[in-house]
Symmetry: C2
Subunit: 434 residues, 2 copies
Amino acid sequence: MGQAEFSDAIADFALTARPSAAALAMMRLSLMDWAACGIAGRDEPVAGMLRGLATEDGGTPEASVIGGPVRLPARAAAWVNGATSHALDYDDTHFAHIGHPSVAVIPAALAVAQGTGATGAALLEAALLGAEASIRIGVWLGRDHYQAGFHQTATAGAFGATVAAARLLGCDASQMRHALGLVSTRASGLKSQFGTMGKPLNAGIAAANGVEAALLAARGFVSNPSALDGEQGFGPTHHGMADAAALNDLGRAWMFETVSHKFHACCHGTHAAIEALRALDLSPEDVAAVTIVTHPRWLRVCNIAAPRTGLEAKFSYRLTAAMALAGWDTGALSSFSQAACVDPALVALRDKVDVQTDAEMPETAARVVVTRGDGGTRRGAHDLDAPMTLERRAEKLRAKAESLLGAPGAAALWAVTAAGEGPDLPGLAAALEG
Amino acid sequence: MGQAEFSDAIADFALTARPSAAALAMMRLSLMDWAACGIAGRDEPVAGMLRGLATEDGGTPEASVIGGPVRLPARAAAWVNGATSHALDYDDTHFAHIGHPSVAVIPAALAVAQGTGATGAALLEAALLGAEASIRIGVWLGRDHYQAGFHQTATAGAFGATVAAARLLGCDASQMRHALGLVSTRASGLKSQFGTMGKPLNAGIAAANGVEAALLAARGFVSNPSALDGEQGFGPTHHGMADAAALNDLGRAWMFETVSHKFHACCHGTHAAIEALRALDLSPEDVAAVTIVTHPRWLRVCNIAAPRTGLEAKFSYRLTAAMALAGWDTGALSSFSQAACVDPALVALRDKVDVQTDAEMPETAARVVVTRGDGGTRRGAHDLDAPMTLERRAEKLRAKAESLLGAPGAAALWAVTAAGEGPDLPGLAAALEG
């Protein structure tokens, strides 16, 4: 690609693309799942800390804050809601770039939609275009970017949040370019925060950065409109690979249609192994040794060998494997606790688990080998990219929302997100504010 | 250095170092110069845009905003004031890391000092320790970081702002470590914004990031306390060189004592050449050709060959050289205008200037060779690191403040910054708010 050709393509997409019905339907499900994760996460310490600081700072009441009690300026609301909705690490993931699109993009879109009085349909479309842009930019940045230590949720996510916010603010083509150029100097986020409050904060940072860039661009801020891909731009400075395949069928095919939702309350990297082990249906007392084979990139993400906190437990192949084998409910938030980390039966199982790698397998897949006490072995495998109908997905997400919020809360959320041309924004706001 | 040894040293310095009298005296001069640049920059478009957005967002009135009219939460004030004070590109520079320490650190320190009711002496000390930390971290990140495309003012500056803010918030050793770990995932800023509003914004971003990290750490936020220098930390991910020399005599010698102040209203990289040309005292009609020899690193900073705007003019060796030769007042803000870019006499001179490089010379120095119409040559050189007494510096800075603010404004600013144990904070606030 020539100089700034990538910026051109993204900016053009951001203003002119017409979403597919399937992609919009998927975003609607992600919106419900995002809201459920956010409401369930509102009492997490990181959520309380950000909400407390933002509420003390105060300001013009324009956008809803998950957990209330007051509305705040759009930037502040996006900051709190991004972190709050990622606090449980239970939100959606796209494996093409390995990022969580919704927690960066939806808080930005929602805050600006409320601030500008946009319709639910406009919010849905802006969130989808922002999410799609974040995935495409994430693919363009590529695995080198991720492996170097950058958290795509935060980095690619900030660009997606910018697209969503700038659309809702009615930015023109030039303003969209300047917004993308501006967020290039603001986007940040490191994987070295994983296992700390810094990981959810990264999502809030991305959402707030997007809102800020769009608000400034709408006021006429002049940045370098090629600062995403130009010389000394975000990609070149942040170990970006500039993978031109990121533009394949842009605006015609929607990568967001293959977003992945979580049905276990831990790092998405551990899910394929959990599914594979659970399908073997073994008794823990039969287990003499376990080998998990995964893509090597996950080792720096979710391979804490001996976790000490509930948060660390979510990033541990060994402990989550032990939980799956021991029949713990890995869909329940309460399973990931300090108590689990020191539970003698779990720790004993955990210490039988060995994690190995195979660079040839997809990042969405895992293979498992369990050696029984009698010397026999059982083998299993799972790939998270295995197809699922939209109906089946909706059913599983409603069940997940019920486990997070209870049946009435889940039903209310379903009602405000699933009906009509787009979500019922006042209803959604009321559900989030609680 | 071992894992996190650098983080340890910076955090220890941030809480325990006792400043030298000379360093404090230099910070006092920088505070006055910072305030003068900020007040003079308050009507720049970027300043008005940020002040407008932040004022519309509003919030708890705790910290002064340059240009007023209302006080804002500390983060917001730091954001506006960082950008406003860097809008004219007339503030101080440290060449050890090539960054502008005051515009990132002082806005953070001032906002938190006002929010916490700290004394002027505590503000001065916090600003100095923050500025020193930013220079040390900048040296540790090194030239690879800068050459890759990162703006040290923003990146190293965010860490310095964090140190200053965390000190004033009374953070303990653990909180200081978490604050530094937290800002590691937030610090950002690209040189590809140079010549646009994004450059001053970078300073505001740094100041706001520092305030945010310190406020969260003071509330007990848990980050990765080694995320500055640990695995996948800020340094390793941002082309940092991890130069251990950054710790030489930390807490005993003060690099801030050699900060450089600007006496020309353009990029500091152009100043040595301007001084060298001016000292030759030539008539423009005698000039047939000019060669400027500079360190090659400056080529990506201030070598716009044919600037088209006042902002671009500040980053042009060729045009600033023409101005120096033609006797334009390069200390006056008004000299850097679109009119200068198209002035026929200046453009004719500009087109006689050739920029060459010598990697062996200091980055603070320039050599010039002027060929006269009669074929003779004149040679000159200047190094910005040539020593200057504190008294001489104060005199030049007061003269600069007079040219920026007028005599009464400069005298008032001198009175509130130069007297007593530390600056008179209410007086400083009044001067900034205007």
